[in-house]
Amino acid sequence: MVVWLLGEDGRRIRAVDPFVPTCYLAAPPSIREQVFRLLRRASCRIGTREVERYELGALRPIPVLEVSVHAPAQFSSLTQQLIRSCPDAQFFHVDVSLPQRYFYDRELFPLAHCEVDITAEGRLQSIQALESPWDTDYGFPPLTILELSPDNPSPNPNHGGCSSLVVRMDGEERLLEGDDADVIQRLNQLLVREDPDILLTDWGDSYLLPRLMTMANQLRLPLALNRDRHRSIGARKPHSYFSYGRILSHAGARTLSGRLHLDRHNSFALAEMGLAGLIEQARVTKVDLQQMARTTTGTGITSMQLETACRDGLLIPYRKQEPEAFKSTLELLHTDQGGLVFAPIVGYHEQVGELDFSSMYPSIMVRFNISPETVNCRCCRHDPTARVPEIGHHTCRHHEGLVPRTLAPLLDKRARYKRLMAAATQPAARVVFNQRQTALKWLLVVSFGYLGYKNARFGRIEAHESVTAYSRDLLLQAKEVAERQGYRLLHAIVDSLWLVKPGAVRTDYDSLAQTITERTGLSIGVEGLYQWIGFLPSRVNPLMPVPNQFVGLFDHGAMKIRGIEIRRSDAPLLVKRAQAEVLHRLSEGRTLAELREQIPQALEIIRTYRRHLLEGLATVEELAITKSLSKEPQAYRHQTLSMIAAQELLARGVRLQAGDTVHYIMTDADAACPSDRVRAVAGIDGTWSYDVSAYDNLLLKAALVLLMPLGVTATSLNESTDPTNRAVYDSIDSKQASLSWDV
């Protein structure tokens, strides 16, 4: 195994650790003969021995053959060959990534501070971590970063627009221009001279690196992207996949050896939690940074479970690759995947408190010992305290499960980060703690999905059902405690409750949370007190409440907003800005009465935006609509606007796949000819125009959803914000008189 070390003297060292991975197989003697025949033909040293090992949840061990491969590079091809030739044998430990297994085996983790004993030839004699992945006080390792971006204004360089290269290092920025040979040579000089540890790019996976490599090849020029000369650059093809109920596009990957390539535009982790969060995830999950940056969070939580299993000496069954089914979406789970939802009482309410169970699902798994092997165990069948509420399952009272053991330290570490964050005096430190706790939050969030996911190694549907059954019972217990104390339940979603009680103040909500925590054994906290909060109605039916769609003004002045345009990635910037301004205006009102007084000014904001649109002043940036393609662009049957934009890009030679995003502008949304309806942003040059009424409609809808519960109707909104009406002040006065502010 090649291990790259950063010495205290600043040297970057390539070390080789003689690591011997093992796999196991269970098979009748006849098949074993065949296995031995195959192994004798292997080109590297192989060791075998008969051992007994446990499977997860098994009462008795099974006899298995342990195969150790003395050349890690051949491990994968050898095991694949065995699997193909012996379909009737059961295989274990064959498909866990070797770097991960190396980390488990040596009790190391990515970017660990460690002590090594190394020979002059670079052979590792010993390596030992000097810190634990559960430490919270580690610093950022002294890694050097070179940033590469295309100098391109387009939202996605793959969709068009030519560019030169922007390079940043130590806060210094330079532009690499000139012909291809110049650019490659100057970049290569930089790479050799600066020898950065991290290559941080924009669009490196899909655009920059593939193009740079092709250019260097064609010109036969060297380009030292890899630090390790012995290795080629890792490449993965682009593909689409389902995650959390949506189709997502993965732009492929270009991974380096001896250096890390991270692409800001191809990394969920970097976007959500920054570099500090990515490092945190890599440390606790033991998935290396390049992989962690590009994979789903589920790979991380799976790796943690695999490590627990390896530590316990359990066999890890071989898993056939199957596509993920439509399941386990964060949003789905919050509405109909077993969690309980109380539809909100539509309208604006004053002095509301929100209580949230912290990390509810993982906490339930830990508190009630829910794991695939503990649910419906044999030993606790008749123990009434082991019963799961509502459903017939029970969980083990004697043995702590694999999942709870894996999650408990995560929950604990996140709680410590939250305390550190609250105590931090430096804003920069607070940001880092926040990124790290967010990284752990994501691992905890997905841990639940992996309990019932058929592709998960340690998933089982009964375990999944038990968690949701507990969650429903806990939410109802919380509601019952609150109602007994005279609170009214305005809204509740799975693990959060919005409550109101005339005259209740912070200490009342704190003591309510305390009582619920004592009653349920699960920690619940006060997320915040709202001066006012508006639960917004459905746009289709104004009488219908919509869960998780609200705007609230906290007592400390911040707002919490869910489900409306400002939070949606597909709303044009212009609409988001208008909504943000209206909200800002509304937030000047501290009470419901004051909130109503803000309505005329809010209407005036909308009028300004409508006039801006009408006068043709809106820019491409303000109007661009970003949509994700839910199918392969060729598979669309209807002429949706995003499909038309996709067709335009395809015609220009852009490659698109399901899950990719397209950016377009509505030019004439109702035009008879589909290609007149929209224009792709990347294709806009020279003359263009936009569909005023289509954007005007979006604007009015975004305003109406906020103002409707305050008594503003679609008609009154349209009339009172008419940009062609010059009698501004008159119209507002008369509007104020005619609108009925219902209480």
Binding site: F342, K479, R488
Partner: protein, 96 residues
Amino acid sequence: MGRTLATFTQLVQQEIDSWSRYRRALRREDQQVLDVLFAAARHHASAGAYLARETPFEVMLLSMLIEQQKHVVILQQKVMTLETRMPHDSTQGMAS
């Protein structure tokens, strides 16, 4: 003396029990309304027992409706009394 058949009051109780999870998942104000409805069903237990229908829940629903209808009639009368007491001109907008 044991009974072969449950009394109608017992049937109402069984019905209430069968709705207990539904009731638990209602807000308190709605729970109170549900309780009033089942109280109406219990109120007409003797008529229900006399009918002895196979599907007692229908009888309970009708009993709930009877009590609702009685409230509607009482409220209509109250509105009429109030309207006649008020001066004529200010009631114009309310009549429709």
